[in-house]
Assembly symmetry: C2
Homo-oligomer: 430 residues x 2
């Protein structure tokens, strides 16, 4: 357990306390590995991670040398063909897995489709009649939509699948009955930052005869994840948030070895074939994690994933997590101390074991407040309804940043700065 | 109709004739817009197109300014969010469509899954009981695999779908019976370069009560395509071959307006939602081509698509096609004139109306021959079984290039150069 970095000299935290904590922060040196604009405090790494400086060189090398000079040969000579697996093996080390269980490919949504389809096929064989995909109403919408799309598709030819939503009126325990085939949850909620206990929920799912799929979009690179320890069945996740892989960079899918070779997943493209270059006219899937690939991947975007992942591996997730919790603690405390007169409602759990790496507050004029903050260079983001979301990413956000951000928030609220602000950012992609 | 550029002074084509044709070539100026390595004749643009010079600047701008400086704001300020549609509208002009029918997103394989799923749902409603996806054994394998994956998935819950393959023993006419729901063909065959008559086949499909899906991977940017004129239902295609979008760049999907809003396609991610940022917990798809999007796209790879597409638009497809046919004609003629003693068998149709933009020959030692050619800087590629494939891409390949390439081929064959060659390229990705 790392000792606390922040040692307030007084009951009320001062900026000097924060500067001292930054000086003691073992992650402080990472900030110089990122390119960040001047006069900006970036608290939106949970939506789009900042740019590792090495990414520019990597992109230029892919475009100018590997593509421009190597041309088609680079599929082999530059390792393009193996990138999904080499990057997957690296990410595996951040999420509690060994090799050959993870590939970087396609999008989080598509990978969730593959995982759901595979899990339903297993259940159809082992526990026929189970027809419910269990998720939660507060999940990131695309996770619900893809479950609905899959159920609708199967039901169109005689399936009887249903998407069941945990919400304020239906707890996980109540929902987890004998009809449930698979539980598919986001480990850390995109809006509130609330975190499920992965091991406990997976155990409950298994006890109830269901399989467990975890969406790690707001977890990978942000909190400690132990998929093998939790005995999870499948996981999907994002590389462009806390893994700093670049805008829209390909996602990952992790499949426990025990499930990899059992059935086709229906997005059966040629990259999942056991011999993709034999050009056989019959599909014969690889008997390992390659089965969860599909088509040719966007190499330039894919290659840059490595820069971000390498930084996370170098930093060590236990240290990242410890600093992250101190930073969100500080954010919440400062908001209480300095913005207590304003109608801000914390919606993020305070308990460490239930919190991811961001802090969110509702405010009746949330969108206007965030717009005014962004205009001042404090970049968080806004999520319906009324939610101000502030992500702390310890590789490039420090204690004094949090202090300064809350001071700006206080000033924006005290002066109603949004009355004069230009609102240029709406609907930034999470 | 453009006059012929190649005017052989003698019965046997000389290099001087080719140089003269290059001088008269209205596309000759495009070559300088591409970055190509020295001492290379690149005849594999049908696998991975060459790099437009502007791509490097575009990638650097995306990575350094838009990502590094703009951060999350660039989804709006740099137009990232609209890229699938703005690029789709540009590609539409190359394939005989107006606006709002095409998006650039995901991979060709995944887009084919969406098109097939959508077409099957329409048929289920309009002509229930049709249960056959008709394609051909010689199609690019991933097209067959994804049809098999989809059929297998639906059949697992009570569907009765079947993938039927046109081959030497079953013609299109014979195969197109009352069971066929959808005909899904590659317009230009990846191996032989043979081209279907899109309008005629689509009309036959419609007459038989089937829908028509066209894979334009080897057509878009290579031959004239008129989807609206042919009354096609769906099309998918690739941006990293003749459109020079960069390695693994996202693919496109085109859906005739009449089919866009009828059913969900099952890969129903949040980018296909009518209000993606409302974060609603119920799926409500957009009633237009956006419905065929799914998740967040790889921006760096996606943005570079524009450089390649803009060059194709500037060149004009009628001119590209006319020069392409002259170049493949020349390639075939020179091989006959100069390599006639060797066991090369042309497998590409000679009739212009049935030929795409490459010429392929079988040779018993095809792989070794191609390896030796590549070692000499003439880059074509090899496809099982025994096939030497030479793509001509008029934006950066000229008549003298074809002449020199065939001379190298002749010398390699005459001297059995592969006995000493190092074979470094196997299995390059098509």
């Amino acid at each position: 357990m790392m000792p606390h970095l922040l040692q307030p000299a007084s009951a009320r935290v001062t900026r000097e306390d924060c500067v001292a904590a930054d000086a003691a922060n073992p992650l402080a040196t990472f900030r110089d590995r990122f390119a960040l604009p001047e006069n900006t405090i970036y608290l939106d790494g949970n939506s789009l991670g900042a740019r590792p400086k090495g990414s520019a060189e990597r992109a230029a090398a892919v475009v100018e040398q590997e593509w421009g000079e190597g041309l088609i040969r680079s599929w082999n000579t530059a390792g393009w063909f193996d990138l999904p697996r080499t990057l997957g093996d690296k990410i595996a080390r951040l999420i509690g897995s060994g090799e050959n269980e993870c590939v970087v490919t396609d999008t989080t949504t598509l990978n969730l489709f593959k995982a759901l389809a595979s899990a339903l096929r297993i259940q159809q064989q082992e526990r026929p009649g189970r027809r419910v995909i269990l998720t939660e109403r507060d999940n990131f919408p695309t996770d619900i939509y893809i479950a609905e799309g899959l159920a609708d598709f199967l039901n169109s030819v005689g399936g009887d699948y249903e998407v069941r939503l945990i919400d304020e009126e239906l707890t996980l325990e109540e929902a987890l009955d004998d009809d449930v085939a698979v539980v598919a949850l986001s480990h850390v909620n995109y809006r509130t930052g609330a975190m499920w206990d992965m091991a406990a929920v997976t155990a409950s799912a298994h006890d109830a005869g269901a399989l467990a799929i975890w969406d790690l979009a707001h977890s990978a690179g942000a909190v400690e994840v132990d998929l093998r320890g939790a005995d999870a069945d499948y996981a999907v996740g994002c590389t462009y948030k806390y893994l700093n892989g670049g805008p829209g960079a390909p996602a990952f899918i992790w499949v426990h070895e025990r499930h990899q070779a059992r059935f086709w997943q229906p997005l059966s493209g040629w990259w999942s074939h056991t011999s993709p270059f034999a050009m056989a006219d019959a599909y014969a899937p690889a008997n390992d994690i390659r089965r969860f690939m599909c088509g040719t991947q966007p190499v330039t975007s894919l290659a840059m994933v490595e820069n971000g992942v390498d930084l996370a591996l170098e930093a060590d997730m236990a240290t990242v997590r410890a600093v992250s919790l101190e930073l969100t603690d500080l954010f919440i405390r400062l908001v209480r101390e300095r913005c207590g007169d304003h109608p801000l409602t914390l919606i993020t759990p305070e308990e460490h074991g239930r919190r991811g790496s961001h802090a969110s507050f509702r405010h009746p004029e949330g969108y206007a407040v965030m717009s005014a903050l962004i205009a001042r260079g404090v970049i968080g983001d806004y999520r319906e309804p009324e939610v101000l979301r502030f992500g702390v990413t310890p590789l490039y956000v420090g204690f004094a940043d949090v202090y300064d951000a809350v001071e700006e928030l206080r000033d924006v609220l005290d002066t109603r700065a949004w009355d004069a602000a230009e609102f240029t950012v709406r609907n930034a992609v999470t």
